[in-house]
């Protein structure tokens, strides 16, 4: 390693004015050292604190994993060049070694700066990131030192060799820590074969004892599931923002970097409670960037802290705790449930016929609702333009019609058969039409009929017997007919007839 031709400095002395001294000679060297010292200062003064910051720094920082592979490869190439260059066959490789070292130093510095950006803004904290960062900064410095020794102090061959070995070691160490950060602490040993694992003495990483909560306690049954669902994605072994872990009771009670977050019995003093009850736009609000905990979840945590925040408290000790499936406190409405599958099937069967009818008789026939296969027919708006022949056209879908408003149409008793075929009809309106008793007497089979309107027709009391047999009839509108309001009414029609 002492065959280094001094390419870069061959003309140096002649170019430097006399007396320019060490600084001038090392101008490039100091220019490269400055950013390294800068990033070291950043790491020392503004270490990652577990807070996520959405800003330019994070955007830039996300490029760290991309850039970081350059110094790794470039620095690992240097000892190869040195070793290969020492054989006479490849001696020319020595010429490029300094250049590679310079590139490695530059890229390591860049990677370190990006790394700090990411660490500072990405919500990282803890020993893993700290080690990784300092190792990265140190690596930049070692690269620079190697370069300096190689190019400016060729006499110190041994020191250069040691620095290079240290640098390679640091690459491995820093890379390993980086891998742990992004892939998990046990990413190298996770799938290690059991035999090898035994030989090397590597332990399977198992959850710390006691972190599995007892489901018979209030904490285990009610509190931990809330924390697990809403909190531990940022506060557990893998990511412990604010140095706080909520994945087991002991760590929850230990608290985070600002001290304990749960004070037994002191609800208002507990930082955890304060943060989950803040408005969503508050800086301290938790879970940050997510929907707030539900009122019931907050209540459970509030009651638990109030009752002493113990992990021994029995599951049923707090009677006022909201049940997991809270009952609605006020009356709620629900829309009529429709079996959508069955309706869709029916619709596809009658759809073409209905579409054809809609084309022929626009605006008067449609489905009862968006999901329903039942039909409503409102011919009343066509008035006398709609007659028996027209109603007959609807015979193919008669059994799907649940409402037919034929008021003021020209429909007569001749439509009796068509109407009697509407077996599922619930509302039938024949107000101000020419229909008579003859038609009504043939409607005895309409078992679903709830409302029948013969307002303003010539219908007489003779139909009441047939009407009384309709099982579901609730309203019979007979005003302006020959049925007098004072007349005798079959007992099961009383209260159902509107005069």
């Amino acid at each position: 390693m002492n065959l280094r031709p001094r390419m870069s400095d061959e003309n140096g002395p002649s170019m430097n004015a006399p007396g320019s001294g060490l600084f001038k000679q090392f101008r490039l060297g100091f220019a490269m050292l400055a950013p390294i010292l800068g990033v070291a200062a950043l790491v020392a003064l503004l270490p990652p604190d577990g807070n996520e910051r959405a800003e330019w720094a994070q955007f830039i920082g996300r490029f760290h994993p991309l850039v970081v592979h350059f110094p790794i490869a470039l620095l690992l190439v240097v000892p190869i060049l040195e070793l290969a260059g020492s054989s006479s066959r490849f001696s020319y490789l020595h010429l490029s070694t300094s250049f590679f070292l310079g590139l490695a130093t530059l890229s390591a510095t860049c990677a370190a700066i990006l790394g700090w950006c990411l660490g500072r803004t990405g919500g990282y904290s803890g020993w893993l990131i700290t080690q990784h960062m300092w190792a990265g900064v140190l690596l930049s410095a070692v690269c620079w030192l190697c370069w300096l020794l190689r190019t400016r102090m060729p006499a110190t061959g041994k020191a250069y060799g040691i620095a290079l070995v240290v640098g390679v070691g640091l690459v491995a160490w820093t890379g390993y820590r980086g891998g742990q950060l992004s892939l998990g602490a046990n990413h190298l040993t996770e799938h290690m074969p059991a035999g090898l694992r035994h030989v090397l003495g590597v332990q399977h990483s198992t959850p710390a004892l006691g972190s599995i909560a007892d489901p018979h306690t209030f904490y285990g049954a009610r509190v931990q599931p809330i924390l697990a669902a809403r909190c531990i994605s940022c506060h557990s072994a893998d990511k412990h923002k604010g140095d706080l872990r909520l994945d087991n009771y002991r760590l929850l009670m230990r608290g985070g970097k600002d001290g304990p977050v749960v004070l037994a019995g002191n609800i208002q003093g507990s930082d955890l409670f304060r943060r989950i009850t803040l408005p969503g736009n508050h800086d301290d609000f938790m879970p940050k960037g997510k929907s707030p905990l539900s009122a019931d979840q907050v209540k459970v945590i509030e009651l638990w802290i109030g009752a002493g925040a113990s992990d021994r408290l029995a599951v049923d000790a707090i009677r006022s705790a909201p049940s997991t499936a809270a009952a609605p406190s006020v009356a709620e409405v629900s829309f009529d449930e429709i079996d959508r599958g069955a309706a869709a099937k029916l619709r596809s069967a009658i759809g073409p016929t209905v579409a054809e009818l809609q084309k022929r008789y626009p605006n008067i026939i449609d489905y009862e609702s968006r999901g329903s296969s039942d039909l409503r027919l409102n011919a009343s708006i066509l008035g006398s333009k709609f007659g028996d022949k027209d109603l007959e056209a609807f015979a193919p879908v008669a059994e799907h019609i649940i409402l037919a408003d034929l008021s003021r149409t020209a429909v007569t008793d001749r439509s009796a058969v068509t109407i009697a075929d509407m077996k599922r009809i619930r509302v039938l309106r024949l107000a101000n039409t020419g229909v008579t008793d003859a038609l009504l007497l043939r409607l005895g089979t309409l078992d679903e009929l709830e409302s029948l309107n013969v307002f303003g027709t010539t219908v007489t009391p003779a139909v009441l017997g047939t009407m009384a047999k309709l099982p579901k009839l609730a309203h019979l509108y007979v005003a302006q007919t020959a049925i007098p309001s004072g007349g005798s009414i079959p007992p099961n029609l009383s209260g159902k007839i509107v005069f």
């Binding site: 009356a331 709620e332 829309f335 449609d366 609702s369 005003a479 509107v498």
Partner: protein, 503 residues
């Protein structure tokens, strides 16, 4: 003749193409081409998914923007008749029986009533004012009512009261806007427009949303109360007159035959079609649809509004006199329109602002007149709808825009000559009747003075959500994309269907 018109339109369009149009099309066109082709695969599935899950599809054929659509769910009511008592009638003289207030009549208003409150006119310490009229209970329901509405009281078993209505507006115009558009500011679609947008109307020969005014003045909120806001203007309410031509300038002028009118409309339609094809402005479609509707309406609207066609005894029941512009005539017309499939009939009767500043505003004078004007027609409307079997799928709503204070108004701190009450947004009474409504029921309660709600407050948006529920809509789902938001009648604050009043 039409060819000449075509040429003229084409020429106008060519002239409308400016250098800027050309440049814009040039630059934008390439970008649109790229985005259109590269994004299409992402756009369509997500759009379909959104359609099926988060919003209903209200698109219709361009030529018939009012064609009926089925409701989201099976509906309890198919149409609404809304009787708005503009000016806000005093609930304490009609439906709110408060014997304790009567007992304390004439005493100084407690300071706790006044702290932190704003009034339109009350200043200093006003006196409490008991009801000016005696109350009694009626019917099976045992509703309390004063002696001012002797006809209506016979039908109170059909009626469901909400005595705990609340608003956040204490001036007439914004309060009326809130009641009818869900928002106190201008520019939002009215309830009727939303309903028309959601359900369309079966009778294409009449507007689906008709407004009738009486009482001598328009409501303070003006035409904005039946505006379609950001919805296409085809959904706005059509104000009709109850005598003379129902819609001004609807009839053909002398010398113009119906067939000549048809020819003219055909030419106008073709011009409008060209304009729409060129610019794609949906308002052009609205214009075409409205020309067509006006043509069809020439026959049907006149017929529907003509109360001469009703038998004498029916007119007498309402107290309707043809040729007048009265609430009675409007109620009868409302029934005729409802029969003809009009989706939303909105009546305004002006003159309920009983401050006591003059005789017309006095609780013991003008107020009594207003009661007489609406009592018989309202009762007749309910009875008529019931007899005709229409009440089972019609919703009738009666109410003002806010309530009135239990304190006597003392404008400028003076004792006034006439007896009146100031505005009270904190509590008022409305009633509903018809399909899906629990008859004979009373929801909510105010304190002993009728001043503030003590149980079950109902916001305007809750009322809207409830009405939409009855019409077959989840109020979240009846929406329209505007300004980046899925706009809806109930706006962004949580609204609740008042399940208690549904029966």
């Amino acid at each position: 003749m039409n060819d000449a018109a075509d040429r003229e339109v084409r020429m106008a369009l060519l002239q409308a193409q400016t250098r800027r149009h050309f440049l814009r099309t040039l630059g934008g066109g390439l970008g649109t081409l790229f985005v259109g082709t590269s994004m299409a695969q992402y756009a369509s599935p997500s759009k379909d998914a959104a359609r099926s899950e988060s919003s209903l599809d209200f698109t219709r054929d361009e030529s018939s923007p009012l064609s009926p659509l089925p409701p989201q769910f099976p509906a309890k009511v198919r149409r609404v008749i809304y009787l708005h008592m503009a000016g806000a009638p005093s609930q304490l003289e009609l439906f709110e029986y408060k014997p304790d207030l009567k007992r304390l009549d004439g005493q100084d208003c407690p300071a706790s009533f006044l702290a932190g409150k704003r009034f339109a006119f009350i200043s200093g310490v006003p006196k409490l004012l008991g009801s000016q009229y005696p109350f009694h209970q009626v019917g099976q329901s045992g509703h309390w009512i004063s002696d001012r509405l002797p006809h209506l009281e016979q039908h109170l078993d059909e009626v469901c009261f909400i005595k705990s209505m609340r608003t956040d507006q204490f001036n007439h115009a914004p309060a009326q806007l809130l009641v009818h558009t869900g928002n106190a500011r201008l520019g939002y679609p009215s309830f009727g427009s939303w309903v028309l947008y959601g359900l369309g109307t079966e009778n294409q020969n009449l507007p689906g949303f008709i407004v009738l005014l009486s009482g001598g003045k328009s409501p303070d909120g003006g035409k904005q109360l039946w505006s379609s806001g950001f919805l296409p203007s085809v959904y706005q309410g059509v104000q009709c007159r109850s005598h003379g031509e129902p819609v001004l300038y609807l009839d053909d002028p002398p010398g113009v035959t119906r067939s000549l009118r048809r020819t003219m409309l055909d030419a106008i339609d073709r011009i409008n079609q060209h304009t729409y094809a060129a610019f794609g402005n949906p308002e052009t479609v609205t214009r075409i649809a409205q020309y067509e509707m006006a043509f069809r309406m020439q026959m049907d609207a006149t017929d529907a509004m003509d109360i001469h066609q009703e038998p004498e005894w029916v007119r007498a029941r309402y107290g309707a006199k043809p040729g007048e512009s009265s609430f009675a005539n409007n109620c009868l017309v409302a029934r005729r329109l409802a029969e003809r499939g009009v989706r939303f009939v909105q009546l305004y009767h002006w003159g309920w602002d009983s401050h006591g500043a003059d005789a017309k505003e006095a609780l013991n004078l003008g107020f009594a007149d207003r009661c007489r004007e609406v009592d018989q027609p309202t009762a007749a409307l309910l009875a008529d709808l019931k007899a005709r079997g229409m009440l089972e799928d019609t919703l009738v709503v009666w109410g003002g825009e806010f309530g009135r204070t239990p304190m006597r108004e003392n404008r400028d701190g003076q004792v006034m000559k006439y007896v009146g009450r100031d505005h009270n947004p904190g509590a008022f009474t409305i009633w509903l009747a018809g399909g899906g409504i629990k008859p004979g029921f009373s929801h909510g309660q105010t304190d002993e003075m009728g001043y503030e709600i003590v149980r079950d407050p109902v916001e305007i948006r809750d009322l809207h959500a409830t009405m939409l529920y009855l019409l077959g809509f989840d109020h979240h789902k009846l929406n329209y994309s505007f300004q980046g938001l899925e706009q809806k009648l109930t706006s962004v604050k949580p609204a609740r269907v008042v399940a208690e009043i549904l029966g």
